[in-house]
Amino acid sequence: MTEEKKKASYDALVIGGGIAGGEAALNMANNGFTVLLIEKDLSIGGKMIHLSKVFPTLDCSACITTPKVSEISRHPLITIYTGSEVRNINRLSDTLFEADIIKHPRYVTEEDCTGCQLCEQACPVVVSDQYQFGFVGRKAAYIPFSIASPRVAAIDIENCTLCGACEKACPTKCIDFTQQSIEYLVRVKTVIIATGFNLFDPLKIPRFGYGRYKNVITAMEMERQLAPTRPFNTVLRPGDGKVPDRLAYVLCTGSRDVTIGNPICSQICCMYSIKQAQLLMGALPMADVTIYYINIRSFGKGFEEFYDQAKGMGVNFVKGKIGLISEKENGNLILRYEDVNANTVKEAEHDLVILATGVVSNPDNASFFTNNSLKLDPFSFICQTDMLASPARTSIEGVFVAGTASGPMDIPDSILSAGAASSEAMSYIISKQ
């Protein structure tokens, strides 16, 4: 650790480089404000950059995200720190916040890396690829994923054997094992929190068998299987590589469920499941897809038509709550469920089960501010203190919230929310001048 903290000042600090944080940063920068964008992952783009397609238009997600991400990366008024975290923020006055930021070492000099991947070829170590949810391996010297921004290698130091093969292979000599964490002390006039959401951890519902049964996966894992940069280059069940032909979606996994402490609706699972069902019908034309639901909440523009389209394509919708999932010897799964319309308990066999995991809050939200308290709502999302009149405001003056940090919402709503947060932040700065 360097002893001296590096000092800098910007107009705005945006925490989180997902689609909401990126959009907010871009709006501010396009209006002449300087922005520091902090992202804890190795790439900006958040969860959206990993998606296959978006509902209800079935547009390619990467095709929307990558130009935006590239615009953010190249903007002269936006400074991006990836692999970095905000430790704490002190509010010094009305228009002055001081943030402690730590940038973890990547062991690669970002400016010099050309993304040639020769280090990746040379590295002998293979570990589970977190960006493909462990369906495939990656090297310890690696480009996080093909459309990462910055598309720069990183060294996974926890799994590195320090053999030096990557350094020998690197044509620009950009790998640098002497790198250490750098601490920054940054002064800004306003803060936008865009820390996003976490997906519900299905291990908390052991009766669904996630983790124990290899053919029970999450919808985000299926999303990767459907994306152009997919791990298997087709859809396969992870247990034995079989091409699945009887797939089941379990909606409301971790949402609308008081027993696991999350009674609220996640707002996106119905629609992303319907989207994936349609994509699966295209990818696996012979497959049967069944969606087990409590209610289908197709509330947005074009959503009901999208639901009808799925029914028209032959997706089977069953109003039922899943009680138990058990595994047969051949890897198939038996779903025991309450058929609500028939008022009976039934069983059905499927060869791949996808859990539509819900949206939960990011625990990082509560920890940023030292001398002010950032109020959270009962579900630990950031509280919008004036939700109807000014939904981007938080309990701290000059601090705004963008995207799913304030609660579950879909991509267009996140971008809208980022627009609102950036406008409020700019008008806040101007009003205090």
Binding site: P124, V127, L162, E167, C170, K173, F232, G239, G241, K242
Partner: protein, 92 residues
Amino acid sequence: MEIEKGKTYKYLKEKREIPESVKENLKNYTRIKRTILDVLKEGDMTVGQISEKTGLPRHDVLYYLMTLAKYGFVQTGGIDDMDEYFYYKIKA
């Protein structure tokens, strides 16, 4: 110590001990890679067939096959008569 550009791993090697689990993981991968590639020399096989020959669990076979495919050692061949399982082969 003096740090030479292009050999900075030596600097960290003096400061950092490599955990046994990391060394073990490397050995494990190298061994499984060799086992799978040896088995595939006998002919194209499905995940199940490789699993039977090697004793590795099927999900592990799929993981390593896909990793070997990613790094250019293995490629996917045709599908079986039931349209259920793909065959995998050594990349030509």
